[in-house]
């Protein structure tokens, strides 16, 4: 499941990789893919007020073959799990997964004795890169998650870090 299974590109230089990483980090293409109420916050993030376009991640693609980032926004039911697996399989390689909201992190409020319908966390079956806590997380939190992902891709933080307080 790790990146060690990925066949590398034909042409590969360290400097070129850094450049490509910079390009990818600043034009992440998430998938139009909402599972529950977190998706509403995701839509708000993409819309005018919070304007994800400022960070280059506004191109929500309706096809997994054009996506970089899968934002698992919401509760994963066991019925939905095979569909999510298929979508993840169909994304081309430089790909990342963001688990947005408590349900996608750990099952959230659905974890209780005798629970039978919910997958308790996206990392049960996906290699999650970024976790965004909240129920649901505010749009700012999603933006922060995407900035964290950019940092993970390039190794440096492009935008100033905002201290809580």
């Amino acid at each position: 499941m790790g990146p060690e299974n990925v066949q590398p590109a034909i042409v590969k230089f360290a400097a070129l990789d850094k450049l490509l990483g910079l390009g990818r980090a600043n034009s992440l293409w998430p998938m139009t893919f909402g599972l529950a109420c977190c998706a509403i916050e995701m839509m708000a993030t993409g819309a005018a007020r919070f304007d994800l376009a400022r960070f280059g991640a506004e191109v929500f693609r309706p096809s997994p073959r054009q996506c970089d980032v899968m934002i698992v926004a919401g509760t994963i039911s066991k019925k939905m799990e095979p569909a999510i697996k298929t979508l993840y399989d169909q994304m081309p390689e430089p790909k990342w997964v963001i688990a947005m909201g408590n349900c996608a992190i750990s099952g959230g409020p659905f974890v209780f004795e005798g629970q039978y319908g919910i997958v308790e966390g996206a990392d049960k079956f996906l290699p999650v890169d970024i976790y965004i806590p909240g129920c649901p997380p505010r749009p700012e939190a999603l933006i922060e998650g995407i900035l964290e992902l950019e940092e993970k891709i390039t190794g440096t933080r492009r935008w100033p870090r905002v201290e809580a307080g």
């Binding site: 499941m1 790790g2 990146p3 299974n5 990925v6 066949q7 590398p8 590109a9 034909i10 042409v11 070129l16 490509l20 096809s63 997994p64 073959r65 095979p82 569909a83 999510i84 697996k85 298929t86 979508l87 993840y88 399989d89 169909q90 994304m91 081309p92 390689e93 430089p94 790909k95 079956f125 996906l126 290699p127």
Partner: protein
């Protein structure tokens, strides 16, 4: 001669512009993708497993429907030049009107014919093969 060179240069540039990205993507993209369900090659992209094939038999009703659409379509096609030329010669326009009514009436016969043949009844149809 110089013009031909320009054309050749622009054609070459256009080709490079179109083919170049494919070549670059082929060279720079990772050659495989991580899979957890072995479904990268599945043609349907909405997560759901495909139900059957696309090469199935459709009802012949759709074909008849398309034919009748042609009848209406040709009507409209010929009515555009009519609309351009209509009433340009400062007359009362009665002659133009009668001509267009005759024309549309003749074309409408196709629809009347189809109607009388029962094309507009949306049924599954079976035809007897000529023996």
């Amino acid at each position: 001669m110089l013009d031909m060179l320009y054309v050749a240069a622009f054609t070459l540039g256009g080709l490079l512009f179109a083919v170049g990205p494919f070549v670059i993507a082929h060279l720079l993209a990772p050659r495989s993708t991580r899979q957890i369900d072995q479904r990268t090659k599945q043609p349907i992209e909405c997560g759901v497993e495909p139900i059957g094939e696309a090469w199935i038999r459709y009802g012949v009703v759709f074909y008849l429907y398309a034919l009748i659409f042609l009848a209406f379509d040709v009507d409209v096609l010929f009515l555009f030049p009519v609309a351009m030329a209509y009433n340009t010669d400062a007359g009362l326009g009665m002659r133009d009107f009668i001509e267009i009514v005759i024309f549309v009436a003749i074309l409408a016969l196709a629809i009347v014919y189809a109607w009388s043949k029962g094309v507009f009844k949306w049924d599954r149809r079976t035809y007897n093969q000529p023996s």
